[in-house]
């Protein structure tokens, strides 16, 4: 294996909590004879170790406050680790955020030159690429206005346009894509793809698991200041999603999100955990009645990972008015649902009610979950099979 371009070994980072630091001479004098080691220490990173290979596109994910930005700043040489070593063999782009050093009082043109200087370009070098920068940002005719009169989208565009000029072996990027419209984001991603082709190493912090799956060769999940997962983008993205969506228990009766009189209950829930491209979703269920009932309606609702209902129905809506049950009866209920799901994690709610939905016998939220895997990744609620035909007209 090639020599890693970034080596991180046992890196810890601690911050002294600022309100306990002596920032004035008064407090320094007053606390002169006290034990100053009682200062509270906040740990941001604990024993972090990993390698990045040349040309690798590494995603760094984790909740807010998990230490991602601190790690990035340490990689970029802005913060010093409290202990441990970081070895970088290659030229690293010196900044980790777009538009750093932009001054609202300067014109767009002046800011381009200033930002260019921060990237290490002399005035004549910026001169030679100025036209291209403006063209890429699509801001011809605005360059002599002050930056404060730009919309935030325009500011980001000009910042990104300058940043694309950076010549470095390693790029370290902290959530650049949080702003900007869809067209701009696409432009960013196209640029990333081009960088990837040119074998630039990229370390990329994001909350967008779609981007991680799409671009990253590998990803690292930070949780509680440590590396919680390090592996393929797919694996880490799934782990990240789990952080926010604890896997629901599949065993009947264990889930706490279950209500209803219990006169009739689901006793078995069988749902394949992964739904592949060519598959059909099957909810294979068994119910048992504890009382005599006149009318029974079965239903389900499928929600995506952000909790948005995607689809659902029940036997009454399907005009299947099923008769009553006697105490002790067991029934098998099987739903089949065409695979219209977009790529991602889904959860299934199951219900048993009377026909009008007034009496709830069993209402079980998140009784099961499954992951839909789709090659075609759309940002929409559903992704049914579509077909496209393009042909020349004679």
């Amino acid at each position: 294996m090639a020599q890693p371009i970034i080596q991180v070994r046992g890196v810890c980072k601690e911050f002294l909590l600022p309100h306990l630091r002596h920032t004035t001479i008064k407090s320094r004098v007053l606390n002169m004879f006290r034990e100053t080691r009682t200062m509270e220490v906040q740990t941001a990173l604990r024993d972090i170790g990993f390698d990045v290979q040349p040309g690798e596109f590494l995603g760094v994910v984790g909740r807010n406050g998990s230490g991602k930005s601190t790690l990035l700043k340490i990689l970029a040489g802005i913060y010093m680790p409290t202990s441990g070593d970081v070895t970088v063999t290659g030229k690293l782009v010196p900044f980790i955020e777009l538009g750093v050093g932009f001054n609202p009082e300067l014109t767009g043109r002046e800011n381009v030159y200033l930002n260019g200087a921060l990237l290490g370009f002399s005035k004549s070098e910026v001169d030679s690429m100025y036209e291209d920068i403006v063209a890429f940002a699509e801001l011809e005719g605005y360059m002599d206005q002050k930056l404060k009169n730009y919309s935030s989208g325009m500011q980001v565009r000009i910042a990104f346009s300058v940043a694309t000029r950076a010549q470095a072996d390693i790029l370290v990027i902290d959530e650049v894509l949080a702003v900007g419209d869809a067209a701009f984001q696409r432009k960013c991603y196209e640029h990333f793809r081009a960088l990837k082709k040119s074998d630039t190493t990229i370390v990329f912090v994001t909350h967008d698991m779609g981007a991680v799956r799409q671009f990253c060769d590998r990803a690292i999940l930070l949780e509680d200041c440590r590396i919680a997962a390090d592996g393929s983008a797919e694996h880490v993205a799934a782990r990240y999603t789990e952080l926010f969506n604890p896997r629901p228990s599949v065993e009947p009766g264990v889930s706490t999100k279950r209500k209803g009189s219990g006169a009739i209950r689901y006793t078995r829930v069988d749902v394949a955990s992964t739904l592949f491209e060519d598959g059909v979703l099957t909810l294979d269920l068994e119910v048992q009645a504890d009382k005599d009932l006149d009318e029974v309606a079965y239903g389900f609702l499928i929600k995506n990972s952000s909790g948005a209902p995607v689809l659902g129905t029940n036997s009454v809506l399907k005009k299947q008015l099923l008769g009553g049950l006697n105490k002790g009866d067991r029934v098998r209920v099987v739903w089949t649902v065409p695979n219209v799901f977009s790529d991602g994690l889904y959860r299934v709610d199951l219900t048993i009610t009377d026909f009008k939905g007034l009496a709830v016998y069993d209402w079980w939220e998140e009784a099961a979950s499954f992951t839909a895997v789709k090659d075609e990744k759309t940002p929409y609620l559903v992704t049914p099979a579509t077909s496209l035909e393009v042909s020349a007209i004679e």
């Binding site: 002596h22 320094r28 010196p94 955020e97 001054n103």
Partner: protein, 271 residues
Amino acid sequence: MRDLLKFIHDRYRYPLILLGAMVVTDFKLRYQASLLGYLWTLLRPLAIFSILYVVFASFLKIGAGVPYFPVYLLFGIVLWGFFNESTTQGLASLVGRADLLRKIRFPRYVVVLSVGGSVLIGFVLNMLVIVLFMIILQVPVRLEVLWLPLLFVELVALSISLAFFLSALYVRFRDINYIWDVIMQAAFYAVPILYPLTLVPAKYARFLVLNPMAQIIQDARYVLITDQTQTISQLFGTPWARAIPVGITLVLAVTSVIYFRRRSSSFAEEA
């Protein structure tokens, strides 16, 4: 030799580009919304000079014995102005650019030097005003003026060293700006700017002139304006007495650089 040049080029190319960009930006921003713009760099010392001249030369008749007292006074104010601005602005420079420090990896000294650079531009413009006054007042130019560049080097070294030291200290202790403000007020009167040093009894004058700023101002006036200026050589009877203020400057420079370098890795977190 070529390797050395390449090393210097590689190592200082980025800091120099940054420094240039920051000085230009700073200078542009300073006079941005003002009607007269850059002219203020010249107008301000002229206005201050007029006030002081009216008070000290016309009313109090302090400079009666000094030839070319108006330009003598103005020169002192310009030199002091450089020292004052570069240290006070230098002091706040790191904390003021905390946004850059936290987001970009670059040599931290560039921030302090950029302040020094933009103050230096103002100083050069002020020197043009001095030359103008010298022409108007027909001040003769003597051979001693060749010492002037060396004195300017000492002035810049002293000011920038203090700026380095204070800026790094200010990151930790946020009282420094108030303290420095008071020190500068006191120093303005402890340095013979408004009054000729001859007005001070010799035993006190000897003490005052050990301050590098006093030595620089008096020496600079001596070489540029008039040999009627009392300098450290006359007070101590030997030109080698300069070793003390020059030594103070050197010690300050070395201490500042060491302190700044030692602290610079934590500026990003604390500024």
